[in-house]
Amino acid sequence: MSIEKEDKIIIANKEFSSRLIVGTGKFPNYEINRKSLEASEAEIVTVAIRRVNLTDKNQPKLTDYINPKKYTFLPNTAGCFNAVEALRTLKLAKELGGWNLVKLEVLADEKTLYPNMIETINAAEKLVAEGFEVMAYCNDDPVLCKVLEDAGCCAIMPLGAPIGSGLGILNPLNIKLIIEQSDLPVILDAGLGTASDASLAMELGCDAVLVNSAIAEASNPILMAKSFKNAVIAGRQCFISGRMRKKNYADASSPMNNLLTEK
């Protein structure tokens, strides 16, 4: 009876087996995206809403490769810089697929792509009022994460490092504080670059992680997707297993008695 079987994550009353959420941006093409997604065994994918290209209608369509019936689409508001834009975008997303579960992302500037927390809180309240299930991309300030929780979000998504930076988790203490205080799933979003970064996030107690660039920009995205799948499982198991205590000195693995050389 393995832990994986039972250890589900629940977001907005929906149960998921995978704790890895995958973004669909930056892949060389939709075919590699599709294969990487399969390899990742993720159940939720983030997607963006953009204008249809009127001049070239034969461009490949995301939905031709990734089936909204098979995966839970998580429409994001990437590119929105205020609550009004975010709201407009997600209403279109709802019309597109009838989704209520959305990823709110209100950015402050293009250099850091850090969230504008004031606008994010503001937008979260409006979206919740409109009946959306809001998963909120946010900074790693436990205080403001709590405000988002109180605003009725269904998941807190603090950043580990700037989006697409691959720098890992810059402030593990803050992530830990957010997890300790939160009654919601805490999903590490943004900044993860390697398997060990993802594993560490789970070891800190995150309920899931969202990964995009680290997979899409790998030399071998499909294998990297597998890597993250395994890293998330490993990190989750490690968290549940209860790690050994750190020691500043050595502690022998082999008994130091009954040696040949004892008198």
Binding site: G25, T46, L54, T63, P75, I163
Partner: protein, 71 residues
Amino acid sequence: MTQNKIQVFINGKKKLLEKNKNLTEVLKLLKITKNGIAIEINSAVVPKSQYVNTFIKDNDRIEIVQFIGGG
């Protein structure tokens, strides 16, 4: 602008249309199929069911969107 034409913005680009066209006709004109898209006119979403009853007016700002890859 000529009497029987109106000017609209579709995905930010200026376009001239015949008067009294509904959304369904506009999509046909643009050779865009209904599925996998959503439409907003002047920042208000138009449900698919209403395309046929939605007539485009002068200076309407029409947004036609779809899902694409994103993180």
